[in-house]
Symmetry: C2
Subunit: 478 residues, 2 copies
């Protein structure tokens, strides 16, 4: 038990005990003392933004604006932050006086939990039993999908078996099931609220009207707008050298198509964040060298080496079709994904690697067209393919794989070392994120974690009055 | 149909059509040209952070760091951002080449959708029918909880009716059901994945070990650390005057307990964000005046005026108990919320307003102790109450209510005007957030929205090289 301050006493809230009777005012970490930091010239200043109210709405606004460099004035009627949501720690125990419960399905607050190191400090209110303990994790991580399927297949009707094979054929990116950890499947199942219906809703339904590269542009453009971002593309990294005072990164530029490559160049920074995917991380030379476990995990690699293949089809009746073709099909799991401006049906499907027949669509496009016929043609229907668009992630030199799906045993053995920092270099990737690992969401989670860790140790030059580093909030009990 | 650029051609991806045959490289909004913005001195600079990789992990890191003022260098092997997640717009239609589908249950990416104005630009991939249309919204928003209960009660068994009454008695904060909109219930039901089990998991299970004021401190302390935050507490706002060039806010400070109040003071800023809750907004004098609809909605108010009452009980057998007492009980819905360091059971319950018997615990503490006996005592069990801790939100002068629950008809009539900006003043609150309205999550959502809107129109003085304002990403189709 660590003894910690429970904060100053707020005017708000009441407490009764037999000994004290009813008393107004209880302590809170949210009480701010002194109650203002106004300069003597405050009334003649012109702030950029005045925020009225220090509940979570106002707190989020002042945080976002202050970090961006704006001069902000917060005005609050109470003696504390939080508004209708606040807590009081009394005798080393927190009482929640307003908004209390949070959940990973609440996107905005969940992100803040990670930002303030509270994601591992969650308590259970309404109590229930069960859950997956670490022994169960180890047991299921050792199993492959094939092992588990052999255990349960005899309990299934042919239709159930069919549907389950279809589901498995997409989750691990069509890889052979002997190579894929069953624990990863359990993780997906939990993320999908333990429901195939929710798997469809959460995993395969909603996408960006403008294409998701517009989201990527949102992040890039916002960083660029600050004037604090320098960038270089077409610049594969060959070497990373971490000395006591700087990280030096050497790149061997790719030439523009048709032009000679530029000369090797090196750049220096006080810290580095390496987001190189698991399956290619080992190819970069690190000094000092990468942790042994990182290299091992990277050379083993995750198993998902899918091709993502779109087709624009004149067959409009296919808009709401879902189809799978496993194990014989080269495209294994496909479905209607939209309608193109020409009124054609857009379908997407994933290329299979079963039994070594990995689809390499750029090597034999006729083979790919035939795979589409095989997947959604048949019963006399000729599929009229107008366009095929694809990315073969297996052959991609900078990823050598699609979304992460670890081999049996890898989750328990490698996730912690993969997250481990080495000196001035941090490693961040959707491949080892905590939540939606292998998804865009996991990438954003882990990039934010790395940025925040660095921000907690390097002062910002442009913040002339920088006062205290970021710190973890008080801990009221252990 | 708006014609828009689809971006430059990436090296990545392939396209086949009958006319062109197989072609390597497809366009993407994620291709960055020119491919670098390196200064001639780049190799001798010492950047704060070098980020290797421009997928979503790297993009998040560069964005967070650049906004915070750090000098960042991004190095990318490809000619585009996004890594294993990217899209290609071809003939005004987006093809997703990697990570595609997103959902509100994915906390990190969903927050980014709102940040980049993509939350209303979501497309349906796997198609399904149904959903709540605007006619249905209007119909159900006109109904009260009592109206709807009368329609369906006869279909319920006594036990079902009992459980349903318990559920209703907590959702709208124990208010009488005639005053509470049924549409708000449907909204909650959707947020809780249409499941009472999920309502328990999402709404009443997970909370902060350290108390949620530690999360509020996280946001406050991070803003303060920049040196860009000035604040004043105990300062209720009386007047807000918006002139063309500045917002002036006048406060009438509350004295520290036992001391005289300080004199009235006014402060100026270029923009203002007002986060004052719905039920008290009308009490502040605005010049120019608040929109008529804002005043109307504020004077009507939402109906939730609950008291939140904790008890520390020597009865350890109550840890996993849930109990409700409606309509007669003054505490209507209670359950075991934890175990205190002394080993006692912590229960929480919500004070009822049914039939006008609103619990005012600070006015009659004996009444409150009796309500606990009534709720969890009985059958010979004497409840041994060691401590009671509470906040009476009904009497709270700065909120006059707890979490938002609108009256019949208010959602359709007032939500849009409540969100409306007036001149240099923005209005943000969990009371009119888009997602988890009435929750901490909604507050964080709406505070972020307001901060971002201001950031898109005022340059940051400390960003000497500020180049372009934030803008919405390209729109590939309408």
């Amino acid at each position: 038990m660590v003894s910690n301050p429970s904060g100053y006493r707020s005017r708000d809230g009441f407490q009764w005990t037999k000994e004290t009777g009813l008393q107004a005012g209880i302590p809170s970490l949210g009480v701010i003392r002194p109650s203002n930091n106004l300069p003597s010239t405050a009334q003649s200043e012109l702030y950029d933004v005045v925020v009225i109210g220090g509940g979570y709405t106002g707190l989020t606004a002042i945080r976002d604006l202050a970090i961006a460099g704006y001069k902000v004035l917060l005005i609050e009627a109470r003696d504390r932050i939080g508004g209708r949501s606040w807590s009081s720690n009394i005798d080393n125990y927190p009482y929640e006086m307003g908004g209390t419960w949070i959940h990973w399905n609440q996107p905005f607050v969940w992100r803040e939990l990670f930002r303030y190191d509270l994601s591992t400090k969650i308590d259970i209110s309404i109590a229930k039993e069960g859950g997956l303990n670490s022994e169960a994790v180890a047991k299921y991580d050792k199993m492959s999908l094939a092992d588990r399927f052999a255990e349960v297949a005899h309990d299934m009707t042919p239709l159930e078996r069919n549907m389950f094979e279809a589901f498995l054929s997409i989750t691990c990116g069509s890889q052979t099931w002997e190579e894929a950890s069953f624990f990863e499947f359990l993780r997906w199942w939990a993320l999908m609220n333990y429901s195939y219906t929710d798997f469809i809703a959460l995993g395969l339904t909603y996408k960006f009207q403008t294409g998701q590269s517009s989201l990527a542009r949102g992040l890039f453009d916002e960083a660029l707008a600050t004037g604090n971002l320098t960038y270089v593309f077409d610049a594969p990294v060959t070497n990373v050298v971490d000395s006591a005072d700087a990280v030096s990164v050497t790149v061997a530029p790719r030439g523009q198509p048709g032009a000679a490559a530029a000369a090797t160049a090196s750049y220096r920074a006080r810290r580095g964040i390496c987001t190189v995917p698991l399956n290619v991380l080992y190819k970069i030379n690190f000094t000092p060298p990468l942790l042994g476990a990182k290299i091992e995990a990277s050379k083993l690699g995750h198993v998902n080496r899918v091709s993502k293949v779109h087709a624009e089809l004149a067959n409009t009746e296919l808009r709401s079709v879902g189809a799978f073709s496993w194990p014989s099909g080269k495209l294994t799991y496909g479905f209607g994904d939209g309608t193109t401006p020409a009124g054609n049906t857009h379908m997407v499907a994933f290329g299979s690697a079963h039994a070594g027949i990995h689809l390499q669509p750029e090597e034999n496009i006729e083979d790919t067209l035939a795979a589409w016929q095989n997947l959604v043609g048949g019963e006399g229907r000729q599929v009229d393919i107008r366009r095929v668009v694809f990315h073969n992630w297996h052959k991609d030199e900078f990823a050598q794989g699609a979304w992460e799906w670890l081999r049996p045993g890898m989750s328990t053995k490698y996730l912690d070392p993969l997250r481990e920092r080495q000196g001035n270099v941090l490693f961040a990737s959707a491949d080892w994120a905590m939540g939606w690992r292998g998804f865009i969401d996991g990438a954003i989670e882990d990039g934010g974690r790395a940025a925040k860790e660095i921000a907690s140790e390097i002062p910002v030059a442009s913040h002339a009055n920088w006062r205290v580093p970021l710190r973890s909030p008080f801990v009221a009990k252990v």
